[in-house]
Structure formats: structure tokens, C-alpha cells
Amino acid sequence: MSDTVPLLEAKHCSLRFGGLAALTDVSLQINDGELVGLIGPNGAGKTSLFNILTGVYKPTEGEIFFEGYPTKGLPPHRINNLGVARTFQNIRLFGSLNVRMNVRTSFIARLRNGVVHTVRRGRSFRLEEAEIQEEGRRLLAFFGLEEASHHPSRSLPYGDQRRLEIVRALATKPRLLLLDEPAAGMNPTEKEELKRLIGQIRAEFGTAILLVEHDMKVVMGICERLIVLDQGRVISEGTPVEVRADPKVIAAYLGESHD
């Protein structure tokens, strides 16, 4: 993999809000198909990093490349169209749409038929709607949400809402999926299921995943590589075993020892 262009590359990225530095000189690489964990204590800048990678914020300094293509300054929908999808730490489903319509919104960017064809409801429109309906149904079935497809998204149990967010993100056909604390608020059974789900996504779709997670058990169990953020900087990087043994990581999580 080293001789090819990395899927995602951030070079010396900083993000400042006035005097507050959310991220300082962060560089990272994610290769095709890789599962990378991003960990760090509260306020370390994990979500800020997600936000600059997905175009919600523009980094104050530094460059970001997706498949070699510079994405800094692009609006979020353009970055999604290039192949980066995400979920949110605080679930952001479309409340007035039911489960299957939530998934359908992910097909909008790739529609062949615009306003005029939609209103005319010709053959091409009907074919495309049928295709999308079938693809959405298959995705929901794959993640065990088909039964709920006509329910309002808000009526789903918490774990299913998180799962639906992942399905919706996957429906945009990303090369890279960013999961922001998918295990937050889940019980141990649901967490086990989530780990299985992430494995399934990789097996079925071959999507690279960047996973932000607080829960060490989830991250250590499945990630090939970890990146540790603390106070807006990358303090450690490597395999779970290496990272766990890194004194800087221990210090960041448990506090510095002064002997």
C-alpha cells in the first residue's frame, strides 16, 4: 500500500477558533479498506478533526487530500459526493421521514432525473425510483432494519437509530466511512452487535472506516491501527498493543505521574 496514493491524507492541519486551538499540526493517513480508530480524552479534538475532514469546518492551516484530490475548502456535500460519508455523535436522522425515506435521501446526489422529470413521472423516473427503492430495501435488509422500514425514524430504539445512521451513510456509496462515537449510549449487547456490524460492513462493502470511540474495548478489539489525539495534537499512533503501552497515551488518559 505504501507506493500508492493513500485514500485520505491530512497534512499539518490546524483549526483555531479565535485564540482557541482545537487542532494543532495534525497529520494522518488512511489507506483503502483500512479500519482506523481515533481515540483521545474528552475535548481532545476528535470531532473537530471529523469536521475538517468532512468540510463542516475549513482548517485554518494544512491540506487535506482524498484519493490525491485536495478537499480543503469544499462544502460538505461535495466531499460526500467524492466518497466520504459520516455519522454524527448526536444522532441526526431526518425526523419527519420514515426509516426507508431516510435511506433514500442518500441517493439524491446521484439522481439522473431532476425537477422536470420528477414532476412528469415518465418511464425513466419510474425506473430510477424502483431501482432506488430496491437498493434501499436491500441495504435495510442487510442491517436487519427492513421490518421497521415504514416506521418513523424517531420511533426506533436508540441502537437502531445509530444503525440507521450508518445505513444512511453507506447508501451514499462511500470509499471512506467516518463513525463518530457509534457505541455511545449503547449497552454491552448492542456494543458487541456494533463490532460485528463494523466487520460486516468491511466484508461486504470494502469501505475504509475511521472510528472515533471512547470505549476502549470496542476500539482495541477491532481496529488495526489507532491514532491518539490529546489537546488537539496526535500524541501516538500504531497498533492497539503499541498504543496501549505508550507512556504518553497512559499519561493523557490517567494523568502524568511526577516521580
Partner: protein
Amino acid sequence: MFGTATPIFKNPRLGLAAGLAVAVLLQLCGGWIDPYTTQVIIFAAINVILAVSLNLVMGETGQFSLCHAAFMAVGAYSSAILTGKVLPSLLPHFSWTGISLASQLSFLPVLLIAGVIAALAGLIVGGPSLRLRGDYLAMVTLGFGEIIRVLLQNTNAVGGARGMEGILPATNLFWTVGAAVATLYTMIALVRSTYGRGFLAVRDDEIAAAAMGIDTTKFKVTAFVIGAFFAGVAGALYAHAVEFISPEGFNFLRSFEIIVMVILGGLGRPVAVAIAAILITLLNEWLRDFSQYRMVIYAIIIILFMILRPAERLAPLFHQLKSLLPGGRKTPVVP
């Protein structure tokens, strides 16, 4: 809920055909309908167009717009100038009121041109201002509405504050009811599609919509332009129905009246908004008998409407009716 709504018929075009047939029938039976009732039907249909088109912007895309009457004014003045000044000089021998098919149908291009000019106005206002949110967008649209009114008031070529009179009486039951049916069809067909869910997604959560690859600004501008188009058509129908227009007829209060219809319709379902528009039109007519107490009663009834929500209660009945038809599907019960 909007999300669980099922298609009117397997093919909503059947609904359009049925509605247009009703419009033709109304026109053919026009001789038996007394002039006052005809007038009320025409106003109700124009209000349906205005409310249902504003609903796309406010109810479905969630953008607060206070200048719908200004787009109506653009359409009204465009068509009045077109039929009163431009076309007579271009086609001096053309008879507008003849019984030939050509003169019967000649109003259609006028309506479309009025709509397109209003849509262009919508693009000019919406393009830059829809990057703003909430209160700021409301202020810009309020400002635009006033600019249009003041411009018209100070342009002598269109009569200034005196307005334009002697506009060709081209509006009839067919054109108004037909246009209302076409507007309703367009809005229902648009929203009940993968594409149309984009409007609802933008309203529900702009950040999530953008993260799913939806160009939120483009959707907002599209809603605004389509809304302006139909407001322009409504304006043209209005001008050729009352035969007299003045800038004061398209002031902020007119915009507000349309907003009330959209809110009473529950901000979302086109059918409910259309019912609300009809109820408000009838209310306005009924209140003519109360002269000085009119606004007091109007306010009380609006408050009652807000509490009782008749339009939203009537719309589900409509949905149930559809599920009885072949091809209709029962909507799952939503808590």
C-alpha cells in the same frame, strides 16, 4: 406524517387528469353558476395556488419567506403589460375574446410567461439570500417585498400608485381551477419522490442533509424559484380576474395572509394547505357582512383554527378515501 404519505393513486397523473376534467366541467357549467359564486371559486383557486406554492418554501423546505405577494405582483404586472401593451402591438388583429381554440388557449402562454418572470425574480432574490438563515432570511424577503411595491408605486409606465386598470378579463373557472389542480399535482408529485425528500431533509437537518451529499443551497433556491413561478401564475390569474391591480394589493399583509394559510394547513401537507386556503377564502367572504367587526371576528376565528386545526383534520380523511381506491395503500398509523 409527510414521510409515510403514500401516492394518491398508483400514478398521481390520474389525479391531475381527474382534476383538470373537473376544471373543464366547471367551465362548461359556468352558465348555471351565479357570478358571485364564480368569483369566490376563482379567488379560492388563486389562494390555493399561492398557499400551496409558499408551502413548498416554508412548510417543506423550512425557509421563512415574507415576499410571496411580491412574486404575485411580478406575475400580475407582467401579464397585464403583456396582454395590455406588448401583445396588442405585436398581434394587432388577434382577438382575445373570440371563440376559436387559439383565442381560448392564448391565455396559457401568458400565464407561463408571467410565471417565468416571477421565477426569475425568485432566482435573483433567492440566489444570494438563501445562504442566510431564519430571521435574516425573513428580513431580506420582507425588504424585497417592499422594494417591489415601492418600485411599482413609482413607475409611471405601470400607473404608479393608481395601478393599472382595464385589464383583459381572460381569467375564467377553467384557468383558475385548472392552474390550482396543476399546482397541487406538481407539489405532490415533487415531494413524493426521492428528489422531493431532499426538501424535507433540508428542513429537518441541514447539516445532516449536506453530509449525505445534498446541495442544500441548491434545494432551497429550487424551492424558492418553483414557489415564485406559481405565485407569478396566481398573480396573472388575479390581474385578469379583477381587471384592476395596484401596488397596495400586493403589500406585506397579502404575504402574511398566505403565510396564515400555510400555517393553518400545518406547514407541510399540500392537501391540508389547500383546504386551509379554501377555508380562509370562504371566511373572508362570509366576514364581508360584518363590516367594522370584521377584523375582530377574523382574529378570533384564526385563533380557533389554530386550536382546532380543521384543515389538518380534514386531510387524513382525504388520505383514507384514497386508500379505498384501487392501487391506494393504507398509510401505517403514526403515533
